[in-house]
Amino acid sequence: MARKTMVEAIRDAMDVCMQRDDNVVVFGEDVGYFGGVFRCTQGLQQKYGESRCFDAPINESGIVGAAVGMAAYGLRPCIEIQFADYMYPAYDQIVSEAARLRYRSNGQFTAAMVVRMPTGGGIFGGQTHSQSPEALFTHVSGLKTVVPCNPYDAKGLLIAAIEDNDPVIFLEPKRLYNGPFDGQHDKPVTPWARHALGEVPDGHYTVPLGKAAIRRAGAAVTVLAYGTMVFVAETAAEQAGVDAEIVDLRSLVPYDLETIAASVAKTGRCVVVHEATLTSGFGAELSALVQENCFYHLEAPVMRVAGWDTPYPHAQEWDYFPGPARVARALKAVMEA
């Protein structure tokens, strides 16, 4: 089994799907000839031709809107928004159009499409290259929202997303493109090639949407995390010396309440971690779900660790980022509550 970066795994997923289904098409800004600014689509145009993989004008609403039309025709567009921060001009097309075609037409038109976008900070990208807008999508009926945290899942989830008949928002934590990240920003990134989770099978396989994974078994506290924060939580658990169970949600909508509730029922404590801003973030939903479903098992209030409610600052990136120290403090706090 080859060890791959997440970028290679994502590219592999598109390659597999394009090979299997002529209706899968890939486009977006710079994705054709150049292969994408993160190289996720590198080589696809050369392999499948310009009518399967091509460059688009810098017009995000146009990219998503055109994809909606293509999906209505019967294609399966897998499009790239260069950074999640650039999706705001396309928001109407995603939310009012792609998400609702099936519902409003009673199934006559559907939008089987994937919108890929690099998300999250940790690369000194400033306010416009660092955001985590997942809650803006999880709030929308008709969308599925997926966040992988390693190459194996990235490939399997992306294939599942491309083959899914509903619109899927596929958020790629860009800090994980080349290797896992434990939140220690002054340490070099460990490449996936030297990491067990970097193993990616060849060919077709899927990781089902809506199923969480237990990344670290533990008995004292459940940490609900996704994307980059899975690795930050692991480091925090070690720093805090807490026997934490880390649940990687993988897919936010649909979410895996069964796994979440079983874990919290077992541990009796819960910390929710995400990089997006705190207020009305997806952590609020998770916290409410735990409260509604696990209240009588809880021995401490559910705590949230998240980005501050400020725009993502450039120079103070590491003060903003919910690193292992903050997560460790929360773990200790719930253990002492």
Binding site: V25, S51, R52, A56, P57, N59, S61, G62, G65, A66, A67, V68, G69, M70, A72, Y73, G74, L75, P89, D92, Q93, S96, E97, L101, R102, Y103, R104, S105, N106, G107, Q108, F109, T110, S141, G142, K144, D164, N165, D166, G210, V253, P254, Y255, L257, E258
Partner: protein
């Protein structure tokens, strides 16, 4: 030394407001038959003038004249007249039904019937329209069952859309009518994407996008033009300039530029203006543009110059913002009367037959309406089941939605 001269802010306004005399003196009208008809493969730069004139076929004497005439038989014209009359009658009955509290909302086509009815006849089966809420003529001229339209308006038990959509936001894949969005202009770029897909797959179908004059201000209008131009998509991009975007006159979206059609020129898209109240002209121009798309020659932009005689919707009161008599003063006349008069002039129709047809159509529409109301209206069911509300959000209902449906007790 004096300082700089203070700037002044400019907001354009219509020529007159209520109380004033209707004035369309600023609308330059080409003479019928005057505008040339280029070859379908003409280079966009060679036909720039067509973005500033108005292609017209029917003259004041109800004759079809000029190079765009002669494409339709008597039978086809009679069919077109019947479609327009049907749409007008349908509108009147549904408008009344809304006033009677049988539905929440209605939007009529009064004065604009030729645009969608004539355009539809230039398309082939399998082509796809991406319409706004004012192109029901595409459905009527395309043979979509009127019963389904009414049941959609009433949100009753036979509503094809299960009560999920506002009235008149129809959807029929089979009849080439994309599900209508309430958000403006979103469908324009989608039409281009659909057309791109057809080209990418080596198909023979084309798409038609529709937008109103006011919505051309939306970013998605420009997104549509960029993509259509870049990929030479087989799409006909229609702008229905009916002079009014609710209460806002068309100059607010158009600004100081020449015409809406001229918007296409900067994108290298051939752009034509047509008399939207002239069934023959609309059909001829549509056929030209559809032929161009079908021959892989790329997109065409058509500005249909017309006038919204009715209110924007049943929630609108145009007497507040425009003179009551303005619609009578509209220089391009009434599309139904103009085609009627032309057919009479041709000897294919008569005033008596017209009156008979009006009565027949009214009786048919009333019969369908009774049947539709037998299946319920908005405020006096039967309605689609509340259980249906949870279906179709996703292909398969996810667990959280299933739990909510159970909580809802349906």
């Amino acid at each position: 030394m004096s300082g700089p001269t203070p700037l002044s802010f400019h907001v354009p306004g219509p020529a007159v407001r209520p109380g004033g005399a209707p004035d369309f003196s600023d609308v330059p009208i080409s003479r019928a038959g005057e505008v040339r008809r280029p070859e379908v493969d003409a280079a966009p730069e060679d036909i720039r003038d067509l973005a500033f004139s108005i292609i017209r076929v029917l003259n004041r004497d109800s004759e079809a004249v000029g190079p765009w005439a002669g494409l339709l038989s008597d039978a086809e014209l009679l069919e077109g007249l019947r479609h327009m009359m049907t749409l007008r009658t349908f509108d009147a009955r549904m408008q009344m039904a809304q006033r009677q509290g049988k539905t929440s909302f209605y939007m009529q086509h009064l004065g604009e019937e030729a645009v969608s009815c004539a355009f539809r006849k230039a398309l082939a089966p399998g082509d796809m329209n991406f319409p706004t809420y004012r192109q029901a003529g595409l459905l009527i001229a395309g043979g979509y069952p009127m019963l389904d339209m009414m049941c959609q308006i009433y949100s009753n038990e036979l509503d094809p859309l299960k009560g999920r959509q506002l009235p008149v936001l129809y959807s029929s894949r089979e009849h080439g009518f994309f599900t209508v969005s309430g958000n403006l202009a979103t469908q324009y770029i989608q039409a281009v994407g659909w057309a791109m897909a057809s080209a990418m797959k080596g198909d023979t179908k084309i798409a038609a996008g529709w937008i109103g004059d006011g919505s051309t201000a939306e970013s998605d209008f420009h997104a549509g033009l960029v993509f259509a131009s870049t990929y030479k998509a087989p799409v006909v991009l229609n702008i229905v300039n009916n002079q009014w975007a609710i209460s806002t006159f068309q100059g607010i979206a158009r600004g100081g530029s020449g015409t809406f059609a001229a918007r296409g020129l900067g994108f290298g898209i051939p752009a034509l203006r047509v008399d939207g109240n002239d069934y023959l002209a609309v059909h001829a121009v549509a056929r030209w543009a559809v032929g161009r798309a079908r021959r892989n020659l790329g997109p065409t932009l058509i500005e249909h110059v017309t006038y919204r005689v009715g209110a924007h919707s049943t929630s609108d009161d145009p007497s507040v913002y425009r003179p009551k008599a303005e619609s009578d003063a509209w220089p391009l006349g009434d599309p139904v009367l103009r085609l009627r008069n032309h057919l009479i002039r041709r000897g294919a129709w008569s005033e008596e037959r017209h009156r008979q047809a009006e009565a027949e159509i009214l009786s048919t529409v009333i019969a369908v309406q009774k049947e539709a109301e037998g299946h319920g209206t908005l405020h006096s069911g039967p309605h689609p089941s509340a259980r249906d509300m949870f279906e179709g959000v996703y292909e398969t209902m996810p667990p959280h939605l299933r739990r909510q449906r159970q909580q809802g007790g349906v």
